[in-house]
Assembly symmetry: C2
Homo-oligomer: 596 residues x 2
């Protein structure tokens, strides 16, 4: 979706909003850490996020990769910065086509800084000279496809900031005129350069309006985090720092903690004044860190870090894409939603209120199609994984220890999950007992009954409703344990189960067409919402991925033929994956004991 | 759906089944009473029902009307008898085309009795001589559209029953040969003439099989209800009555009650023996009465009159029609499902798991289309209604009294419902209080929470699940009371409401696109089932019908311009119809009081 449309919706509804800016890290480990941080930050509901273009064009490919992942995997409307630095037209064209392919629809068009080692910006051969040309190019080549944002400089562009007040005023006015040109060429809204003087910002907005620039102007908020960073940024951008602020920062110079807290208080104060002065939203330069930005947004009541809003049990995919209408997913992928999103990205329409047997067939086809596309683990992830899981696995006990540590929260990486485990104490004690008996769980959820939808734990879907969930366990089970388990499963009346080893020895009491609700919610003004279902066919599609992760997600860390690798491969080939759904989700009435 | 397909499914699943036969009453009141009885009888799940052809063709139109109503309104797979008596080919053709138009797909083809006053059957000009010709005609003109059943005579056709044993054996064999011809011409299963000697029946089945007749043979069970009826039927059909039975009936001749009970015990005994001997199902000649038939079926464990099975909160429409897949309806029509079925019969597909805003538009179009087609009240219904509601209404109190009596169960007719009210004691006491304050309810349902789906009261959908329901009230409210009520509705946080007078003064807190689940259920192996929803647009479609019933369903009973008629029309034009849905369906936890 175009950000300007979301911004205009928010303005029309008089809802103030916020957005986060990130920059591309220089290492693959840094990129992975950024994605983890983005998962946490996006959960709080920014209207969009943006990612800057690799400084001097050096990390252009990384930016492209991050931008498309943000859009399609982190599931946030993403704006990619694009600069003219070191970019001949063909490269610009390539970059725009690439992000378009991934559904990304928003570009912040900039001239960019001079390439490294150069003092002054000069257009390269076959490249553009200024952001205006870039805006015009995007519009001429891609029509209305992209939403375009342009930068505004409340104190004029640093290159044009001079001592002489007469010349300065002239430069400032030229800046405004140039900004107007960018807007007229296609810029749909403006994000400003950082500033610390509120009056400067409001004067700039007033001057823009007088000049006939009527698009939304979002203030860029650069939180104060460290003394060095603050000095570097304000120096580089020639930012005017009010005396009082400057004095305070010098005072706290050597007290890191105090400065951080001051940065949050000061940022919150700035934001309050900006909002009171009528800005529609706040664009937060996060510097890829969450603490200060969260601190500011919490202080002004925009977020509550103790309460992550969940519209659905999974992250909603950006609005305006076909995926937005998605309403149902198979429970097996609950902890690997990125994989699910990728594998089903070929679909033209998504199940909304119900799954249906036909959908399971589509899923199996989609998975067959996408099986070759899974990404290799990065070196960084490999290193971290070895640290977490052990550089050598001698016995089954070593493997079990990894499952135990994961569920205890001692390690966050796990082949069968995108995210750290969040086990309740009661689940945890039982998981440890399970592992001792050769039942290695990869997903455990307790039943949920009559829980208020605003509940910080199990709630989702906004206030005023009730949410429900059936108990569900998915676990790898040793062949001998499975032999013991099967008669119990067969004789149970409450449980729906499907089990299979990698070879396809399938056991189940689920009918082929039986699709069970797993998670659902009831709200005022809504039909029943049913985000997760369980059925035999979807499970059988998932089991391929689950078994392959023994190898691609774990054994691949070790040398082929090593004892560690062999141990995991043996488990892959002989153990069973068992999924059990408990249909008895209503707790026994504690009053029933009285015969009431 | 063709009955033979259902019968074969049951046979394959080794599920014994039953069916009911009815005959066309001679008066309109009788027809209306029959429909009421059929509603109750069909609720217990017969595989099909059939209706005999008016004796001598005299009530042919009534039969057609009943057959099509059974199929499309009572919602049961219906088989219509068709005889050659007094029926030239054109008339047969007309009748077949008429029932086909209504989705009825099953015919029991018979020669029929001689017309009244005639001793012997003779074909009329342009008519058929025997059932075989009729079977051939149906197949030649309608191909495979109709499922065809033919009659079997275990003791040979009464016309061919003679004293001489040699001639009798010859006649019997000719009967079997003729039956074989009927089957070969297209008869798909056989229902037998009544009999009381089990051995006769089993010999007949054996002789059929020896002759190469391999289709299912259903025994026709004629329960013994009255002495006179028994003597008349066995005399007319020349039925062999075992001496023991004959003695018993003579013994109980003057004890009506004892004979009825004996009839049930005897019928149950016969049925048990037939089932033990391998019959796939039982065809019950109900004689349009339910007590004895229910008594027999209860004795053999086929039904439990205390527990009506409900697959959905409404009756499922016969299998194989497009309507079968229907899964969601607006709550407003819950008490007028026949009207809803009729008005939406033009739809090509029905909502399954969700309603959706689009569906409300379709509903409004369908209702606009069908508005002219509503049936006039019969004279019989008019008479009964006047008795129930009063031949004169002088004041508002007289109108209120009708609402009170209806909810108390003192009268069964009510303009806004197909069926008698079934109010719990707690609802009833509150309804009376409401009526006193100028709130005249037409639909009241309490909330249902965590109720086992097999519960005899609120349960539906088969065993092993849980059902839920939000509290819902629909009521006509006087203008002054509405003025008082509206601010309360507006300030409530739990309630969704829509109100309108006949003139279209609409008040609501429901968003245009907001569709609320009203009734839902959660089962193993099923997605969430959601039979009833509430939304503003559907309610606004319904209100037209609700307001028009003041006139067509009530005021029309009185002379135009009479005080009674004027009183009702005044209410029609000034009162508001208010629908209120309580989204707080979870009862307050009684343990919460302890702070637990």
């Amino acid at each position: 979706m175009k950000i300007i449309d979301k911004v205009n919706q928010k303005i029309a509804a008089n809802e103030k909003f916020f957005s986060f800016e990130f920059f591309p890290p220089r290492t693959q480990e840094g990129v992975e850490a950024l994605f983890e941080r983005q998962e946490r930050m996006v959960a709080h509901g920014p209207v969009f996020c943006d990612i800057t273009w690799g400084a001097g064009g050096s990390t252009a490919d990384v930016t492209l990769d991050i931008a498309t992942t943000m859009q399609s995997q982190i599931c946030i409307d993403t704006m990619m910065h694009l600069t003219c630095t070191n970019m001949p037209v063909e490269k610009l064209d390539e970059a725009l086509k690439e992000v378009k392919k991934h559904g990304l629809q928003n570009i912040l068009a900039l001239r960019g800084d001079p390439p490294k080692g150069q003092e002054k910006f000069e257009a390269i051969e076959g490249g553009f000279n200024c952001a205006l040309d870039l805006v015009k190019y995007i519009r001429s080549e891609f029509g209305d496809y992209f939403g375009i944002c342009v930068a505004g400089y409340p104190e004029a562009h640093p290159d044009t900031i001079v001592e002489d007040p007469v010349q300065m005023e002239k430069n400032y006015q030229e800046n405004i005129a140039y900004l107007k040109n960018k807007v007229e060429a296609g810029g749909e809204f403006i994000i400003t350069q950082l500033f610390y003087d509120i009056d400067v910002f409001f004067k700039f907005v007033k001057d823009c309006r007088s000049a006939g620039i009527n698009v939304p102007i979002l203030p860029g908020i650069m939180p104060i985090m460290t003394y060095g960073g603050f000095k570097r940024m304000t120096g580089f951008c020639k930012t005017k720092v009010p005396q009082e602020l400057s004095d305070k920062i010098e005072e706290l110079k050597d007290n890191e903690e105090a400065l951080k807290l001051f940065g949050m208080d000061h940022g919150a104060d700035m934001c309050r004044k900006l909002l009171a002065g009528g800005v529609p939203g706040l664009h937060m330069y996060s510097l890829n860190l969450e603490a200060t930005v969260f601190g500011i947004l919490e202080r002004i009541g925009f977020i509550d870090t103790a309460k992550v809003p969940r519209h659905m049990p999974w992250r909603l995919v950006p609005m305006g894409t076909r995926r937005q209408v998605e309403g149902v997913r198979p429970i097996s992928w609950a902890n690997r939603s990125r994989s699910y999103i990728t594998k089903t990205s070929c679909w033209n329409s998504f199940p909304t209120n119900s799954w249906g047997a036909e959908q399971s067939k589509l899923l199996s086809l989609a998975i067959a199609d996408s099986s070759a596309k899974s990404r290799n683990m990065s070196e960084g992830r490999k290193k971290k994984s070895l640290e977490a899981w052990g550089s050598e696995l001698s016995t089954l006990e070593d493997v079990k220890a990894v499952f135990t540590k994961y569920f205890k929260g001692e390690i966050s990486l796990f082949p069968w999950s995108d995210a750290p485990a969040q086990s309740s104490a009661s689940v945890l004690s039982r998981v440890e007992a399970l592992i001792n008996t050769d039942v290695l769980p990869i997903h455990v959820q307790s039943s949920v009954h009559d829980v208020a939808s605003e509940d910080a734990g199990a709630g989702w879907g906004g206030p005023g409703g009730y949410v429900y969930q059936k108990g569900y366990v998915e676990a790898f089970v040793s062949p001998s344990k499975f032999k013991e388990l099967l008669p119990k499963l067969k004789s149970s009346s409450n449980l729906t189960y499907v089990a299979s080893n990698n070879g396809g020895d399938v056991h189940s009491n689920a009918s082929a067409s039986g699709i069970s609700a797993v998670t659902w919610g009831v709200f005022a003004g809504k039909e029943v919402v049913q985000p997760y279902i369980f059925d035999k066919d979807s499970f059988l599609s998932w089991k391929g991925e689950a078994f392959s992760l023994w190898e691609s997600g774990w054994a691949a860390l070790y040398e082929t033929g090593s004892a560690s690798s062999q141990l995991l491969k043996d488990m892959q080939s002989s153990w069973y994956l068992v999924a059990i759904l408990d249909n008895e989700f209503v707790p026994k009435d504690p009053l029933a004991i009285f015969g009431a």
